[in-house]
Symmetry: C2
DNA sequence: CGGCTCATTGATAACTCTCAACGCAGGTGG
DNA sequence: CCACCTGCGTTGAGAGTTATCAATGAGCCG
């Protein structure tokens, strides 16, 4: 019923490095779990006790200062990996943005399994390297871009990363219309802005005809090139 | 003469996962290279053609916008790894800040060697995971901290990361006095600020008695706790 | 139909950037 | 040996962008 073999992310997650027998072993040490929006799987600062693969949904990785400021440091989509294998302390919390299904492993079980399966570790290494590159590109946005550039970049990135899930068949650069998995406050926390600034930029992009906002949580990209020009 | 066995970072770099014979093979595919300050080893956007270990010196990883804004997305110290193994395009340039010695490998040679040596890949995976955590923590600084918090955080981090190299014997949290491997402009590019703002914050920290600036490139931390309080 | 949360809009303030001038140190050449 | 030049850093004045504070508005659920 919930075996790895029928898993919808079977061929995209790091599990794709495993053969049928290995998958059976992995299946035995993992378990499925559903998360409601706002529910956390891992908390900032705790010892790393579990890792997971995302099957469905969108989750945020976030960290904050003592006085309550928050920064979202990553967004995780289906087939992606969560957690900190091989010891250490988790440096950021993991919280569901939408209702999510994840495949959870105890960290020690996963560690042991991974060390015996170099192909799995290799897959994880490739993903981690890719994620590090993506994160570094995001630093350029945080450090050097203006509010309008930030918001435009955010919408374009989201449109691209959401489209495999939304499954627009036309082979475009990204979904034209999509549902935001973020509240305005969460968008602000991704971009290092305030909620008011985000809201004003949304309004401005709409009034310039680059996007439409059918509802709070929905966005239509009307002029992708224009938006890309705004993104800097 | 320049064999791996006598390498000063032999026991700290990813090479520490290898035995004597393996090291001999690795030695054969790598070569030493010296870089002058300002000299680049890898350029943003080019295909990944080489990877390296840092033996000595400090290097920056940087990326920029088309209109010339720059963001330093990482700083690399001795024993650390540089480059993007397993294909792909380099998303950031690598440039020496101080005179540096590196141990360079062609990416394809390194890839082939790594795939045959899971313990090396494991070490690289652990490092990459650690670096990703560090990078994500830096995002909090870029997105949510004020100029004074940024500069104070920067000085504390630098003091800690420079101290194993500077080799203060007293087991402290970091070096009390150290030489900046950065110009003011480069500090601004790390923190997402302008050179003037960085300069003003330095002056302010000095006038408040938290640091001293014996020369342009030198810093003494007079009040570590006070600095930590400024760091937020 | 309230009462709630979340988002938008407006007015003002604060912070950082921009532009500009000056200062300091190191190197070069008279 | 000193004068000058050049690059980097500091300091100042003013402008611009974004944050803050406050009020209004829209959607949702009981």
């Amino acid at each position: 019923m919930s075996s790895c073999e029928q898993c919808v992310v079977r061929n995209r997650a790091i599990c794709s490095s495993l053969d049928k027998d290995e998958l059976g072993v992995l299946n035995a040490i993992g378990r499925r779990r559903t998360l409601q929006p706002g529910e956390s799987l891992i908390w900032e600062g705790e010892d790393s006790v579990l890792v997971a693969n995302v099957i469905e949904g969108v989750l945020k990785l976030s960290t904050g200062t003592e006085d309550g400021r928050e920064q979202i440091v990553g967004v995780v989509y289906p087939s992606e990996f969560i957690g900190r294998p091989f010891g250490g302390t988790t440096s950021h919390g993991v919280t569901a943005l939408t209702e999510s299904r994840v495949c959870v492993f105890s960290r020690s079980d996963f560690d042991a399994f991974a060390r015996e399966h170099p192909s799995l570790e290799h897959k994880l290494l490739e993903r981690t390297l890719t994620e590090l590159d993506r994160t570094r590109r995001w630093m350029l946005l945080l450090g050097r871009k203006s509010a309008s550039e930030k918001v435009a970049s955010f919408l374009l990135e989201l449109s691209e990363r959401l489209s495999p899930a939304n499954c627009e068949i036309h082979f475009e650069t990204g979904a034209r219309r999509f549902t935001l998995p973020f509240s305005r406050q969460q968008i602000a926390d991704v971009l290092g802005l305030t909620i008011e600034t985000v809201s004003r930029q949304f309004t401005r992009l709409k009034s310039e005809g680059l996007i439409d906002l059918p509802s709070r949580r929905e966005v239509t990209i009307l002029d992708r090139e224009g938006l890309a020009a705004e993104a800097g």
